[in-house]
């Protein structure tokens, strides 16, 4: 068997373009025997690496369609197997006939996602890239699509691999110090260097975590809570941001009892804005329940906007990221912005662009550049745990406890892309140390 055949599964086929009338319809094939099938399906065999114009033939030699053929040789293809792409005309009947002919010639219909699954099984892509593909297909904003494409291209994988390699090296040092304590010199100088390495590693993980959090906000959508005293104009502000009447507005305090939401795009990111019940002492049972929900929403939100009547001179009613001083249309002069303060008038729309900018800044928490990839909540969770373990390892203590933290960090990172076995670890040890016994 050739090396090429070694990684191929049975031949699968599927229509790669959506059903219905279109200019072009594509049938995609992957697996053992793709080349043999091409020979029987086409008037002449295709040349890999070229765009081939060919006729697609039926069993009786009649022409089903005519189009372009791309042939890929394993392992240099998406799935890592021999692949064929048949670009025909986009009608339902002709595409079905082409697919049926492929089945007749020995291919079987692919299961959903089977091409990507094969790419994963053959190590062509890792989990983050597979997720990138899915996210790209589902992306609804230009920015999310850009970041998903980067993830698909392996940007997150590369960042994680870089961190993983450094982690493996540190584990190698640490494990060698434990298992070869007798033979390898591990004096003060080595210990200090190891501690410094662990600190650097921990910082690097923290930075990647921050970037992942920003990236995840692009993917999952950020959440913004509007809180404040009753009748500060929270619901009016929600409607102004959403550009529609999502919430009921009334001059009486305590109109909003439950949490009302609207989706708003802030700087290319879809954010959910939550309008909450006004906070005050007393109120009816229903209103008090509304306030309880408001507080919970406030705790869970990425950004908390405190809405306060600009004429209200009492101290801020709650902790916040942005302070919207509402109802400036009622003042003779517009107050100055500064710090977290943004003067707005929900009723007239004055100051709304400035509020949007402030929200965008607050969503990009801690500043930093635009993330280089798209991340999911599970990436953030795993990275959080890995970063916590690395911080614990860097904090000092017994070597064997630090080693346990590193093992956990590596295991958590492994869940994002794919794990490493203990033999890899030993390999890492011996690349670096001379072992005496």
């Amino acid at each position: 068997m050739t090396a090429r055949g070694a990684n191929s599964g049975e031949l699968i086929a599927a229509a790669a373009t959506a059903q219905g009338k279109g200019a072009i319809g594509i049938v995609r094939l992957s697996g053992t025997g793709a080349a043999a099938l091409a020979k029987r399906l086409l008037d002449r065999p295709p040349r890999p690496g070229r765009v081939n114009r060919r006729r697609f033939l039926a069993a009786d030699g009649g022409v089903i369609d005519e189009g372009l053929v791309l042939a890929f040789r394993a392992p240099r293809s998406f799935t890592g197997e021999d692949m064929l792409e048949l670009h025909g005309h986009g009608g339902t009947a002709v595409l079905q006939a082409l697919l049926a002919r492929c089945i007749e010639l020995g291919a079987r219909l692919a299961e959903p996602g089977e091409f990507a699954l094969r790419a994963f099984g053959n190590g062509k892509i890792d989990l983050t890239q597979a997720e990138g593909i899915a996210d790209l297909i589902n992306a609804t904003s230009a920015r999310a699509a850009r970041l998903a494409a980067a993830s698909m291209g392996g940007a997150l994988r590369a960042a994680l691999d870089g961190l993983g390699a450094e982690l493996l090296a540190a584990r190698g040092q640490l494990e060698a110090a434990i298992d070869f304590g007798e033979d390898v010199d591990f004096g003060g100088k080595h210990q200090r260097r190891l501690r410094a390495d662990l600190k650097r590693l921990s910082a690097r993980a923290a930075a990647l975590l921050a970037e992942c959090r920003r990236a995840a906000a692009c993917q999952e959508g950020a959440s913004i809570a509007l809180v404040g005293r009753p009748n500060a104009g929270k619901s009016s502000l929600l409607n102004a941001l959403a550009g529609r009447d999502a919430a009921i507005v009334d001059g009486r305090p305590g109109t909003t009892r439950d949490v009302v939401t609207a989706t708003v795009e802030i700087d290319g990111v879809a954010a959910t804005v939550y309008d909450t019940a006004g906070l005050r002492d007393g109120g009816s049972k229903v209103e008090r329940e509304g306030m309880r929900r408001a507080r919970r929403r406030q705790e869970e939100a990425d950004v908390v906007v405190l809405v306060q009547d600009v004429r209200d001179e009492r101290p801020a009613a709650a902790a916040h990221d942005v302070l919207a001083l509402n109802k400036i249309d009622l003042l003779p002069q517009r107050p100055r912005a500064g710090g977290k303060k943004v003067p707005v008038a929900a009723k007239t729309g004055a100051g709304l662009p400035a509020l949007r900018r402030a929200l965008a800044r607050a969503l990009g928490r801690g500043g930093g550049d635009e993330p280089a990839f798209l991340a999911r909540a599970r990436h953030v969770r795993a990275l959080e745990e890995a970063a916590a373990a690395l911080a614990a390892a860097a904090a000092g203590g017994e070597l064997v406890a630090a080693a346990e933290e590193l093992r956990r960090a590596q295991e958590r990172l492994g869940t994002i892309t794919g794990a490493v076995g203990v033999e890899d670890l030993l390999g890492e040890i011996f690349a670096r140390f001379c072992i005496g016994k």
Binding site: G5, A6, N7, S8, G9, E10, G80, E111, E114, L117, R118, F120, G121, N122, G123, D126, E175, A177, I178, D179, F180, G181, E182, D183, G397, E398, L399, V400, A401, A403, E404, R407, R408, E411, G414, G418, A419, G421, V422, E423, L425, L426, F430, C434, I435, G436, K437
Partner: protein, 599 residues
Amino acid sequence: MLVVGGGHAGVEAAAAAARLGLPVLLATHSLDSIGQMSCNPAIGGIGKSHLVREIDALDGVMAKAADRAGIHYRILNTRKGPAVRATRAQADRSLYRTAVRQLVEAEPLIELVQDEVEELVVKNNKVAGARLKAAGLVSCAALVLTAGTFLAGVMHTGKSSAAGGRAGHAPATRLAACLRELNLPVGRLKTGTPPRLDGRSIDYGRLESQPTARPLPSFCLLGPPPRRPRQVACHLTATNERSHAIVRRHLKDSPVYSGAISGAGPRYCPSIEDKVTRFADRDAHRIFLEPEGLHTAEVYPNGISTALPAAAQEALVRSIAGLEEARLTRLGYAVEYDYYDPRALDPSLAVRQIEGLYFAGQINGTTGYEEAAAQGLVAGANAALRLAGREAWVPGRAESYLGVLVDDLTAQGVTEPYRMFTSRAEHRLSLREDNADLRLTAQGAELGLVSEERRDAALRHQEEVEAEMARLAKVTVPAAGSRPPQPALKWLARPQARYGRLPGRAKLSRRAAAEIEARCKYGPLIERQRHSLQRERELEDLILPADLDFAGVHGLSNEAREKLRLHRPATLGQAARLSGLTPAAVSLLRLHLDRRRRA
């Protein structure tokens, strides 16, 4: 039951079977070399002393023999955490041999015979017996083969080579040929030893001396023997640039580099040829000068295993500080031998395709006395259990290094001589050398492997620990100044805390105090680890049905399919540990199983 071989594996196998009440015949080519230490005269070390203590917790031979022969002890990794603390002893070779022989002969069910086993008799894929050179056909229903490095062994020094499993001993060539006919997967490995020196010619005055550890440690958990051998010091020296230049000049004459040896050698115990080539940037390599015994002047220079020609070995030795005038008493050599891919064994170390046949020790591709002895115990006990019609005993990875060893070997196989490391054990924090009895003795008692004395001692230890833990859970320790008192268990969890300094401590044995310290210190970490190893446990529980068609698992590469078809792992956990099977493949398998279950 027949045990072939009288090395560390053979002895433990025979002794374990005898403890389980089975009469055993142990056949070896030389009765005088029962319990022979063919490489360096040391027992224990990091990861290895854990195995010695586990063997002891199951009433094996090795720990008791080592304590009767130990002439120098060291405690290693003293400051890296109790889980990786280890004991190592230099043993007097002849005392060790004597101790092993005595312990074996104290077992009335073991019969010893000096004879060469030339052939295994296998009928219908079932062991029927063995043909011995002098005694002829001996029938048996179970056979443990512990042939060490004797299967088609070839020794090399410089350009000359000779057949043999150990200097002065002929190889088991006919047995090797017979085994090859059984069509089991076989490979070649190599290992080596350094030259030995005449201690009277060493200038110790210039070398760093290491005294034995005090208080004097012991391996046996029941305590040391009443009389201990006299303790001696070891000495340290190192190679230098001149030594390395000599090695480099003669590399072409070393069989390892001239191509005469094809087997893979251990990365962990490399020859000086390997060290000089692979770690070219190091200007010195440490050498431990280990005394061979109390009544011999011979010294084992640990760290310069070599197969260079005689003249080069002498030049190399004399380039080293303190050894300028040293005389060589024996030459170093490399030995190349057959090993059988342990993936052909099940986790009880039984050969899958031949009923009643067990392999243990270096034949399975391991290196080290401790690894060999540990396998001997597992194989011998299982052979006996089988003959008694009882269920096989497979120690688990979570409870012992024994479990790590047999699982690593039978699931992953070896690519070089396998040595135990603490980093191989994912449950390392719970597997300390000083809690081996708490982990294993009760299990051993259930199997019938341990004496009443040992079972009771372990029980008493456990009760002492648990009673004190229960008391501590209710006690607080006054804090300095106005701070509130701290729970005693929390006080003990601090990194520097010692039970001996606990205010209001009870009068405990040293071992109980150490156990309590470790439990307090590691408790939270172990708890968290148990949680994070949840996935591994889940994989362990996912059975791969016998009728599972790997061709139907979507996305799996053909390479992964081939591996799975060949080794047919019983659970997804075993599959995950197959070497060469990627985590991606495991995920795909799991996905498939989930779908199948739902369907």
